[in-house]
Symmetry: C2
Subunit: 169 residues, 2 copies
């Protein structure tokens, strides 16, 4: 299969690319890439990416930023950033991607455990992750040509906990 | 108690006001009101409302618009409208409202059954409702002074089905 992995250079994205590459043609896209560069917070950037990569069997998104901070410190701009990035970025990957994906293909989005199991500091992320899940459930009903839309919700990964200086045990 | 009902002139809001008025001081706010007027899609309008109404024991939101339409017909502007209105409108009622609510008070937001039980046409509403639920779960953990944050998820109500010319049986 031809699989586009968005967020291919991130912690989870690198693992996804490694797992899929043995038996698939993987096209890696990311914010930092020099080959297929994409900023999912920018709808025009998503459209350019799809035009550049050709027909696909699957799209996997492991990209999407959102801000972890106490609710009282989250600004209007912080919420806007989270909505534009991890939430609408992934929504737009699906909306703009349908026409580039073959019959019976798939979209796999990434939410996260904070959608259902919040913690202090997760208000914006919990909002965004739950929103992605709500959209995914609905979009799956309307996807054309037997295309599937799913989301996976990873737990905390060790690399992220280490980056945030949180307990990894 | 002094209870602010936002969306007091809507289908559900009118019923909430009627139910609460017997034993509480209810302050009714809505987009159409001539007394306490508020547009929850406008953060400045929410701030003005809170400054005008004084101290509160509870805030109930039955306001919040979102667009029901086939996914393929939902525009960037439609998603933006839904995010600004039913999603961030309610998030901002909580964020900006904490300082106006007494110790042990409460916020009650409104989501809807489409969060968990989508149907064709509900992509934007399912996203928004699920997002409100995710935010609510997280915000409840950080609310100060024993203030509570909850959301209720009503099923379809007859008046709405009639307005949309859908089966009410």
């Amino acid at each position: 299969m031809r699989i586009l992995v968005v967020g291919a250079t991130g912690t989870i994205g690198r693992a996804v690319v490694a797992a899929l590459s043995a038996s698939n043609e993987v096209i890696s896209a990311s914010l930092r890439s020099t080959t297929v560069k994409v900023d999912i917070a920018d709808p025009a950037s998503i459209q350019r990416m799809y035009r550049s990569v050709g027909r696909l069997n699957a799209v996997v998104c492991a990209a999407g930023q959102a801000k972890f901070a106490p609710l009282a410190q989250l600004s209007d701009a912080d919420f806007r950033f989270c909505l534009d990035n991890k939430l609408m970025g992934q929504v737009n990957l699906v909306r703009f991607g349908f026409e580039h994906v073959e019959d019976g293909g798939s979209f796999t989005l990434t939410t996260g455990i904070l959608a259902q199991a919040p913690m202090p500091g997760s208000a914006a992320i919990s909002l965004v992750n739950a929103g992605v899940e709500g959209f995914t459930r609905a979009a799956a009903l309307e996807a054309p040509r037997k295309i599937r839309v799913n989301a996976v919700s990873p737990p905390w990964v060790t690399e992220t906990l280490q980056a945030l200086k949180m307990d990894t045990s």
